[in-house]
Subunit: 276 residues, 4 copies
């Protein structure tokens, strides 16, 4: 399956503002790209690209006072398979975890592991360890939290989600991630494209999406406490400890979002190559 990916985002700023964008497809998917994946900027300011400590591709540039537009279109090959499932995947004792997974056990800005540890044992203490436990967490969060765009709030933490029981994508994942970490399961936040491929009726305008990954058995597995069903066509952009690490754009100064369009559509062969 080929998926057409793209975004078109504009900001207005009153002064020069440095920005960092995490808008590239993640290096783990580079080999699937069928067109270049190069963020274009109008006006054509200089951009410097680097990898952060999570190996995400980051683009830094100065938005000059006025309007800046970030846009791109690319094409990615996808298996078309839904998220892999492995109910047999075991929880790995902390002592045997790969050392680079250990950072995903710690508390972070939106994931107060320390504050929810007592709670988590009361709620999930009786669920068998491993895949089942992560799945139980996703189902709990999915069932107990109400989704709604008006509930979006950039300061909401996992504890806030636990008490308020409302939120958007990221909030669902933050609570599930925190519960996993409390139970010594490495969990990390993921952002990327998630189209409505295979979904009968897509209820929402297209946006970037958030999900999370949990480390079980011998690898990271995709989970999604918001949708809580395997989905096709996820294309990863960035991973991190929580949304603070992988904001689509971070502005080091005041910037007003004035346009935001994302596309992620399955294409058939004849439409696959778009002129740049």
């Amino acid at each position: 399956m080929l998926i057409r990916l793209g975004y078109d985002i504009s900001f207005e700023t009153a002064t020069d503002v440095t920005m960092v964008a995490l808008l590239n497809v993640h290096p783990s998917r580079t080999s699937d790209l069928r067109e270049p994946d190069i963020m274009r900027i109008e006006p054509n300011v200089q951009m410097d690209q680097y990898r952060d400590s999570f190996d995400n591709i980051c683009s830094r540039f100065v938005a000059p006072a006025g309007t800046i537009r970030l846009f791109n279109s690319t094409l990615v090959q996808d298996t078309g398979q839904p998220d892999a499932q492995n109910p047999e995947a075991r929880q790995i004792p902390v002592n045997d975890l790969p050392t680079d997974t250990l950072r995903y056990l710690l508390a972070s800005r939106y994931c107060e592991v320390d504050l929810l540890s007592s709670v988590v044992y009361e709620v999930f203490g009786n669920v068998p360890a491993g895949w089942q436990r992560v799945q139980a967490i996703c189902t709990w969060v999915h069932d107990k939290v109400t989704f709604g765009y008006p509930f979006a709030r950039s300061t909401r933490t996992a504890l806030d989600v636990y008490t308020e029981r409302m939120g958007v994508c990221r909030d669902f994942q933050h609570l599930a991630i925190t519960f996993c970490r409390c139970l010594n399961i490495p969990a990390r936040y993921a952002s990327g494209y998630l189209g409505d491929i295979g979904v009968p009726a897509a209820p929402c305008p297209m946006d970037f999406s958030a999900w999370f990954e949990a480390y079980l058995e011998d690898r990271w597995w995709t989970f999604d406490a918001r949708h809580n069903v395997p989905r096709q066509g996820r294309v990863l952009m960035a991973v991190g400890r929580d949304a603070a690490d992988v904001a689509i754009t971070t502005s080091f100064g005041s910037a007003k979002l004035t346009n935001f369009t994302v596309i992620s559509d399955e294409v058939n062969g004849s439409q696959a190559v778009e002129a740049f």
Copy 2:
């Protein structure tokens, strides 16, 4: 100057508990070591050592049910100079910062950059950028927050320090770090040894200490909002975004601290070499 460093720490656990300890001298000081720096464990369990994403030396092991003792003694060469001062050091625009400093601008568990950004401009908006601004932050925090061991609380965030105006070492640094980041100055948490060298009357029992580093001009500089005077004899152990990253020990299970001794003393030549 030679400094004798050491610690002797015990825990009791009811079951096997995996622990990660950040008790080694930081790699940046390895060349100053005059004796080996090897954590000893009783009982003599297997330990595996690795570097985390901040390049800190981490030791992972399983504490068997019962008592576990972590201890060591080593010797380090130190210049004996107080913390370097450079009032001319300039603040670097975000666009020109080394990319590996950018992670220290983001919010973290104990440093809610998003929540204190408005406040910080009201308080420090008129202070000239660069060294002076970081120094003004340290002086403000030092003057406004009351130190007291009974105030220790592992869940206290920078915002809590700002409202409660009390705390221990780490709390002072968390607030100062957050203020720096709000002003686009990279700031990171540091833990290590800080003896009473050069201090007429040491008021406190010896403990590990926390300070912070701010990136100005072309390097990281040591600041300490708790003491707010240049000090001699700091020996760095670990850096991170905040105390969640560099806990001296992290226990993945219940563990009760039963002994905690730290030493950090200047030695004269004849005492310098201690038999292992």
Copy 3:
């Protein structure tokens, strides 16, 4: 001036739900009523009316499963004068305050006096006591906080307003009230009707409004940190320590608001009496 007041509010409930409504004009305005002020309920369930500890008129009833409608229309005589101003009004020492004002110095659900006391002295310490200080608080809150209906959130406290700098009517008042109390000025939350009388362009759909009262010299004075200009035509419904005390309706069970209309219009003589 005669003001036509009215509301039409509907809820849907899945089961019988007890509700308390504070929808009457406050007893202090009873003598100004030119028509009866009796809440009507459809279906016509039994209602019991009482005064709470703030002397507000409260109506308690059971909403049967299904739809319930609360509505009324009444007419009130008003001086048409804008909120009284008295820049000479002095702050009264706590020891000389009437004892029934003292409860309005304490912390309450949305007004964490304890958490903002240090802050308030830093911000308002140099402003002369009395009317000027309350006015300075209103201007600060008005200027620093951004109004927006999408920012509405029932759990937001004064500290949240201070850090997030956004909110609706109630949030502005909660922060201003808390600042006043921190400075030992009794301040209480007020809810009522506030039409657009005398306002050239009314930007908002009509709603009930929130303002606050501060005790200075020898009485309570109306302040409004949201609008921060004297307004005509306020008609008080309820006072309390904060919005938790004077919710328009409190449901002791799940109830979904399905309609909410409020009117508050100046009428000329010929229109003044509306047939019931």
Copy 4:
């Protein structure tokens, strides 16, 4: 049984500071007093006494710069019976509750009813309503929260207790009160004397104590989530929505506590009358 009650409390202040003390025995116990209950102040400043909205006896005075001492000794008759138990006491539907109990269903400074409502149904939803449910709440809080004087913190709310699982008397009661209110059971905070009468080994230095009252069937009943066993010899001083309402002393300015002694001892006849 006769109980000798007394306290001796000193503060130091740098300036004149107005204070309000709630140090009298509650009016509901006035008829049990066998000696006068008059707070004495050194120096002998003027004091004015009033009832607050909860009918507590409050004393207001100005502490002159320097040291102020509040002290008293009185004698009270007590039945010697442990706290009344009534496992048959029913929960009263909100619509049938006496109207003066309704204020004890609302959120207050330390009792965030709104934030814990979802949680409470998950934890106690299956426990039968009435006495059993309040008892289940007390047992849960008693078992899950660890008592310790070093954990005392004046800003800790019920939600904090729920996440931190540690605290002193007041914290236990705040969490239990909040749980009750979430379940539509009126609950109020109580402070008073609680000696070690009938307790084999009293673990703590004597202090004032906090407990709470829940309204069931036709009256207020004493519960104590801290001790969770019926106790003898409670002597009520004040009730309120939470500790913010019934602080032993509230200082409207800076005051340093320098002495704090409380006594509450059973006396036999010959010792009963103490010379004033």
